[in-house]
Symmetry: C2
Subunit: 524 residues, 2 copies
């Protein structure tokens, strides 16, 4: 190996779209996961885990990019020539799991899981090819109460993570409404499936491109800043207006321009403002797309979700009906959800940005049924753990200050390593994080090392101390303070010494005192 390596040295680098994680991010993620887990378990969800690899056909092709069949998913052939894939989400594997274990599971089956998922996509800023999701799903219930509960749980999760009410919103839409609008534009039947996909994707980009961008994508097409041209859906002007009408539903209703339609308006007596908005949107959509069964089914489900949310006390601005929500995955069949962080923050260039979506989900009544002779209704939600961690770290909602390092036992005399090892072990046995210096440096580099590790103190024993049965303890935190103050104040040594000697048998006790003085605790 060595000869070849020397002449043609390997470059140490990660593939694009992947990243390493250090102590602060790992600790932040662990705390987040524990918090989310506690919320999900309070809702009666139980854990289940599936592996990272599945048969490609079992996962299906439901990613937004399914028209490019070899992209989106990392796939490879098994030795029996069957195709395997890395999971691209946690929902498709759950559908396989439920179908495989159907008879043993309680129905409805509430479960949660978290883990890494993989997307074979073009990486970009904040866009990774491996990221962590935390999902919860209810399989076996067709009730909108199940959808409402998932939304309530998403809201509770945000607040448990320290995101204030008003700083997030759970937006709810319904694929049936989207499909109904599409029908109204004449995009019916198998032949128009491709066009419908283009329209859905255009709507999905409303936040990023604004209404003008979406309008271009619904029509002839759009050229982006890099000059790349994306072909549009080529809808007629009147059809484009219908889609715009639909997209503006929430804003329109909030401006209270339009009169309300149908019997839904009778329920407007409720004092809850968001429920009343939801009912108005539903009434307005029903009136605007009169005669569409899909729109009326979809809006009825939205109203039920809004009512359940209101009854459970979530009707404020926590859960909102918003017809512009699409969600990219193609297995959704009914209500779809999206959790957005609504506050603004600054990017590196100092521009105001919204964090936007940190999770989403929806109802996927067809996914388990792919494996069975009957349909199995299901609804679920997926939290983007990696995105949410970045957002919370960026906002200072997660403490990223590194923990105190271990106590470092230095090596003054190399031939007495076994003695120093013994001292280190004594400290560890007392529950103190401690390490023996294992490098080859002299005392200077050893103290620098201890500093770099964030050690609260170091232990030193030279020949003189050994002869007296003593050890020296150097308090690095005090020492750093003293070093900062030393220009104006030289008497610190007398009042609180940064280095002192103790009897060897009192080492553990003395180190504990230093740790207590500086309130050093190692978290869990």
């Amino acid at each position: 190996m060595s000869k070849e390596a020397k002449s043609n040295r390997l470059k140490a680098r990660l593939p694009r779209g992947f990243s390493d994680r250090g102590p602060a991010e790992i600790a932040a993620t662990r705390r987040m996961i524990e918090t989310i887990r506690a919320v999900y378990e309070r809702y009666g969800f139980e854990p289940v885990e599936t592996p990272a690899i599945e048969y490609t056909d079992a996962l299906g092709k439901f990613l937004p990019d399914q028209d490019r069949p070899n992209e989106g998913v990392f796939s490879f052939k098994d030795d029996d020539e069957q195709w395997l894939s890395l999971r691209y989400d946690l929902t498709a594997p759950l559908a396989r799991y439920v179908a495989e274990n159907f008879d043993q599971l309680p129905k409805p089956y509430r479960s949660y899981r978290f883990g890494w998922v993989f997307r074979n996509e073009k990486p970009g800023p904040g866009r990774f090819r491996q990221f962590m999701q935390f999902d919860a799903d209810t399989v076996g219930s067709s009730s909108p109460a199940a959808d409402a509960e998932i939304c309530m749980m998403a809201a509770d999760t945000m607040e448990a993570l320290g995101i204030k009410r008003g700083d997030y919103v759970v937006k709810v839409n319904n694929r049936k409404v989207l499909d109904g609008v599409m029908e109204a534009t004449g995009l019916r039947g198998e032949g128009n499936a491709g066009k419908r996909l283009i329209v859905l994707r255009a709507i999905d980009k409303l936040d990023r491109l604004g209404l003008d961008g979406v309008r271009a994508l619904l029509g002839a097409g759009r050229k982006d800043e890099s000059g790349d041209f994306t072909k549009g859906a080529e809808l007629s002007d009147s059809d484009i207006q219908k889609v715009e009408l639909f997209l503006s539903a929430r804003r329109t209703v909030q401006k209270r321009i339009y009169a309300l339609a149908g019997d839904i308006s009778e329920r407007l007596e409720t004092p809850d403002s968001e429920l009343s908005t939801a009912l108005k949107i539903a009434g307005w959509l029903a009136a605007s797309f009169k005669g569409s069964t899909l729109v009326s089914e979809g809006t009825n489900e939205l109203v039920q979700i809004a009512e359940y949310a209101a009854a459970a006390g979530y009707g404020g601005d926590r859960i909102q009906i918003d017809p512009s929500v699409v969600r990219g995955l193609e297995y959704y069949t009914g209500p779809v959800f999206e959790v957005e962080l609504t506050f603004e923050t600054k990017d590196e260039q100092g521009r105001a940005v919204r964090f936007g979506s940190v999770g989403g989900g929806g109802r996927y009544d067809g996914l388990v049924g792919r494996f069975r002779n009957d349909q199995v209704p299901a609804t679920g939600f997926s939290m983007g753990v990696s995105r949410l961690t970045s957002a919370l770290i960026h906002l200072g909602k997660i403490d990223t200050k590194p923990e105190a390092g271990p106590v470092v036992v230095t090596v003054f005399e190399k031939n007495r390593l076994a003695d120093y090892q013994h001292m280190t072990q004594k400290l560890r046995e007392a529950g103190i994080r401690a390490e023996l210096y294992l490098g080859s440096g002299k005392m200077g580099p050893q103290l620098k090392y201890a500093d770099k590790r964030g050690a609260p103190c170091v232990v030193i024993q030279g020949g003189d101390e050994k002869a007296k049965g003593e050890v020296q303890i150097k308090d690095l935190i005090e020492g750093a303070k003293a070093a900062a103050a030393i220009a104006s104040n030289q008497e610190w040594r007398e009042t609180r010494p940064a280095q002192f000697a103790v009897k060897e048998e009192n080492l553990v006790e003395a180190v504990k005192e230093v740790l207590a003085r500086h309130k050093v605790t190692w978290g869990h």
Copy 2:
């Protein structure tokens, strides 16, 4: 989708060698990981994580099966035609990480990490293609004290997990000694690399095949029970005897047949029995393979490790020198370690079996250097979390009794779902795990569902109760006891009723009383 799916239904199944995990196993693994983490952090190791995917060349080919170049690792081409692989262990990615971040890291760099690794191997009983490892490594120290510390930490981990002293052993050997013995058999030079590999693998199978099996693999070859023939190393009879002599070192010394050689014997005054055994083995090996620089270097390192272990109080039977340890991975350059569970248990057929290896590691001084112009010494240890979990569950050292399920709020009147949702939310707000029944069944199926979920109690509110402002609570644990006793004892209803009514505003309090009565707590 649905038409195609109906005519050609997908089979829900996992690829061979992969498995799903349920609540008990997930909880057991979580507790294990927390325990291991606490030990590693007490030793001053800090967390770092790398992704599951790396460039294939960065991982290198160090698996035991490297002579079959397309096997062992799951690989696929990126869109820029570069090969990517799923990591097959956590050591090769760490080497890449250290090389990539060399200047920022403290040296020596102590770190730990856990995660899934993937092997594209033939699956078998207890042999998975995805399994979890928990690693700790010290990079930048060439001192045997670093190796000794890793072994001590492995021993501490076993005891922290509840495995009694004497029920495990950390075995230590040295690749240099193995290489020296190989030289003594005349297997020198590049031309004999293939044969040396066959010999190493033969030695590695000692536990499984016994001395006769190893002897066959060192000679002409061996036919297994299925009739498959494995070609041997074709050593001469006298060379086979040399390898056997070496393998029997520990047993031989323990029988105290051989005289001790050289100055090592002078150190035998120590009272510690394992250190004395280690010294005797080293002396005996040095005498048996006189003139081999590799054997003498290797045995000296082994003696130092034994001395450090003894000085730190690990010299009993926790850390043992054992020349039969090999470890399959090919990047090891010095000391190698293996943790074995030594107690016996019964398999499904009632036969006595030893659990054997649950982890291992060693020194890999060349791995980081592949990316650099200098060598970087490193040593580490990998715990097989999946294997260890199975072992501990099998032994009853891990509680696999499922936790109590959530309180189930039943749906008596379907049009009052919002009311029931509200009650459920009240319970959750009080920190009680609770769920609303979301299926379509009547009361019978709802109670069966609650039973299947392990619910401690259910909440029922029909029209009568509603009119009185009351709810019924049915205590399922009490009910089950009563049902068991009811044949002989009919008066249970009077003394402690399994179903009772409370005012709606007292629901939370009443449920808490039921939970307290049965000591229901939901763990973390």
